[in-house]
């Protein structure tokens, strides 16, 4: 039963006040894309046992989507950040690197 801090309103709340939304930073592929790109966009998932970037919505709060960096093996949360970005911010990356030197980095 996780707790997360919504970066949009600053509220720290439990999992039941949020709605999970799958892997973060999906890159959308539209009508001109290749079969492989489109399949990857819809289905290929990183699903690592370790550091994972994922989408959450503060469904019972401010209603905003945000992103979280979390370990799927220990459930440690490294940080949350607004959804309006295509890659994790540098401070979150740095924090993970510090705590998990063996982590191979984002993507």
């Amino acid at each position: 039963m996780l707790t997360l801090t919504c970066p949009c309103c600053g509220v720290t709340a439990e999992e039941t006040e949020f709605a999970p939304g799958g892997e973060a930073h999906p890159k959308r592929f539209g009508p001109d894309s290749s079969d492989a790109d489109f399949e990857g966009y819809l289905f290929a998932r990183a699903n690592p046992k370790g550091v994972h970037f994922e989408r959450w919505r503060h469904a019972y709060g401010c209603g905003k989507w945000f992103l979280a960096a979390r370990c799927t093996a220990t459930l440690e949360v490294f940080g949350t950040y607004p959804a309006q970005t295509t890659a994790p911010p540098a401070d979150v990356i740095k924090k993970i690197k510090t705590k998990r030197p063996e982590w191979e980095g984002y993507k």
Partner: protein, 190 residues
């Protein structure tokens, strides 16, 4: 409009606190850039200023709550809501903003008594003991969304959607039943 009725028409329950639906209340949702000058100006003409994140402020008969980074909720008289919404819409006509009268989409409850916190403790995962005056917490109340704030000493106000008002009243009544107090006195927030 004489035909208008609130969701529960002021239903009241007396338990170890008093739970009552507050009747018709005006509510206006304002979406826009909360830092933009036109919006601030439009608020000012209503005698309002934009609250800080999570804050809820009352001046004269108007209450204004921060709902999200691009949304405010103005609470006013029900009878004045449509007109106020229209005025705000017109004031923001040239700007990217959305003002909606949502008075009838919601229900407002008041939980009154020294143990009001205990009712919320039974229903919401929010740390109610640490909710200061002047702050609104949007949260979950059992299985529905709600927003709560301290509207007076020993009084908590609660907003939910109109369609679930009966459910929320049921939750509040069950939680406030005499004999089910959690504590003799309120637990400390320290």
């Amino acid at each position: 409009m004489s035909n208008a009725v609130s969701a529960l028409q002021g239903a009241t329950y007396q338990g170890f606190v008093t739970v009552s639906e507050a009747g018709l209340i005006g509510m206006i949702s304002i979406r826009g850039d909360l830092t933009s000058k036109p919006l601030l100006k439009a608020l000012k003409t209503q005698g309002l200023s934009a609250p800080a994140p999570r804050q809820i402020v009352t001046s004269n008969d108007l209450t204004l709550a921060w709902m999200s980074p691009d949304e405010l909720l103005l609470i006013c008289d029900h009878s004045a809501a449509a007109q106020r919404a229209q005025t705000l819409t017109e004031a923001l006509e040239k700007n990217h903003a959305l003002v909606c009268n949502v008075s009838d989409a919601r229900a407002l409850f008041r939980i009154t008594g020294s143990k009001a916190d205990q009712v919320i403790m039974k229903l919401s995962p929010a740390d109610i003991a640490r909710l200061p005056m002047g702050e609104m917490r949007r949260t979950r109340l059992a299985q529905v969304a709600a927003a709560v704030w301290r509207s007076a000493p020993d009084e908590i106000s609660l907003i939910c959607f109109r369609s679930v008002a009966t459910y929320v009243q049921g939750l509040l009544e069950t939680s406030a039943r005499p004999g089910s107090e959690l504590f003799e006195a309120a637990p400390s927030s320290s």
